[in-house]
Symmetry: C2
Subunit: 257 residues, 2 copies
DNA sequence: GTGAAACGTCGTACGGTGTTCGGGGTTGCG
DNA sequence: CGCAACCCCGAACACCGTACGACGTTTCAC
């Protein structure tokens, strides 16, 4: 349903790299492929990640539902096109300001993209969307770590680790961000849980209680809802941790830092 | 749809901690709540993560679809119960063999659980499922890092970072594992992509080509499909990286390692 | 210039989803 | 013993992604 990479790879690759084939016979298509993809992105953003119904998309474009399938083989392929298009919108990392700032920038840009387009987290990662913009970003990210003494496998491995961390932490952020929309109240949910929780876990989890007492679950500000601010704090904290680990590998390899 | 935490928190918490309320009037329910949850887990595992339809679950249990709603307010709450039940099946980390082995064990147990129950990755993380078994696992995981000189915030932050990494890397593994089931062939997909890819990216991504030449995309074995083995290799490599970072924090804090 | 093949369009239909409603049957308290 | 409370469930609602086939348009080959 929400998975990509399902259809004919040849057709998908052709759409990603070349767009719609020029038709020879018959009436011209009323729309450009980019218009379909852009409208899909807008529609998915508006409707939340329950996401994008082909009917609603067709309505927004002013065409019949079935006509969508002349532009795109199916929803899976459309999602792949959307992923590559979003990747096109993010800036490439700047190699002049150092690998650490660059890698942090990539992770933060990915987080921003996931917050703006929550459906990104629902499409496949293993069968990477092999579109031109996705690959260009990957190439530029690898370049940040290239030539610092790391082995080729380590370069790829470190980038993959940062990406995995980003994906996991970003999904926590996105879920925190969307949660209030589902139940209404901002922190209301937590507050309503508290009495039940305290009653049940009364004394059964001493370490949790101790850490809570020590402020381990506090957040850095109150402007945002608690759950969101906590997820953002954790994203930053964990990203530093992962980048420290990469720094350790580079230092061990003896390359320029 | 696949999100948890939607219904009445009181009802959900009561189900998680106390099970079904004892009925006073009317016929007894034919099933136990645990039977419903276990059947749901089995059904979701069998049907893949497209996952669990209330109709199919009711059929497997030999009851009408609507009857399910007398046990559980909705699908979201059922998913929460399933999460807590799966957590109950995983062993708690062993504190005697050191924090590193313990934390690795938690991450690997989480990976195993995600591979066995792919729908785990589709339920919310931010609004944690506050069930007894989930909390017990969290408490035991925090205990691995407690008393090693880290601040309370660092203990929580490091555990959160490992969890985020695990979630991201595990979703790559699970997607690699499920991908073949969707298109049939094991590595067939990659092989079919190659000719298109080489044609399009011809010379546009020199670093990618160089790293590929250097074997950066090789895998540690050929027994498993390529994409899955690569995801597993990356999981292990990145986990070491993250654990190194935690070790660095512990060393900097001067606590017992 | 004309016929026919190829193509875009889209109303309709199919099989699926989660959930609600209302009535009928069963149980157990007072 | 009566009646209120409860479980059960067939049917229906409002959606979803996608396939089919009729219809109108366009363009190429002759």
């Amino acid at each position: 349903m929400e998975h990509a990479g399902r259809g004919d790879p040849a057709r998908t690759m052709a759409l990603l790299w070349d767009g719609l084939p020029a038709a020879r016979r018959g009436p011209r298509q009323r729309l450009e492929l980019t218009a379909v993809v852009d409208a899909a992105i807008a529609e998915a953003g508006r409707a939340g990640p329950a996401a994008l119904s082909m009917r609603a998309l067709a309505r927004a474009l002013g065409i019949g539902t079935a006509s969508l399938y002349t532009y795109v083989p199916g929803k899976a392929e459309l999602l792949e096109l959307m992923v590559d298009r979003v990747a096109a919108g993010r800036p490439l990392p700047d190699p002049t300001s150092g690998w650490r700032a660059g890698l942090r920038g990539v992770a933060e840009a990915d987080l921003d993209a996931c917050r703006a387009h929550p459906w990104l987290l629902r499409v496949s990662t293993s069968r990477t969307v092999l579109g031109p913009h996705v690959l260009a970003r990957y190439e530029a990210t690898l370049a940040l770590l290239h030539g610092r003494g790391l082995s080729a496998a380590d370069v790829v491995g470190c980038v993959a680790a940062v990406e995995s961390y980003t994906r996991g932490a970003a999904s926590a952020v996105v879920e925190a961000e969307q949660a209030p929309e589902r139940t209404g109240g901002d922190d209301e949910w937590w507050e309503r849980q508290v009495p039940f929780l305290e009653e049940r876990m009364n004394g059964r989890f001493p370490l949790l209680a101790e850490l809570e007492e020590a402020g381990a679950f506090g957040v850095s500000g109150t402007a945002l809802p608690y759950a969101l601010q906590r997820a953002l704090d954790r994203f930053a904290h964990g990203l530093d941790l992962v980048l420290d680990a990469v720094a350790g590998r580079i230092a061990a390899a003896g390359g320029p830092h």
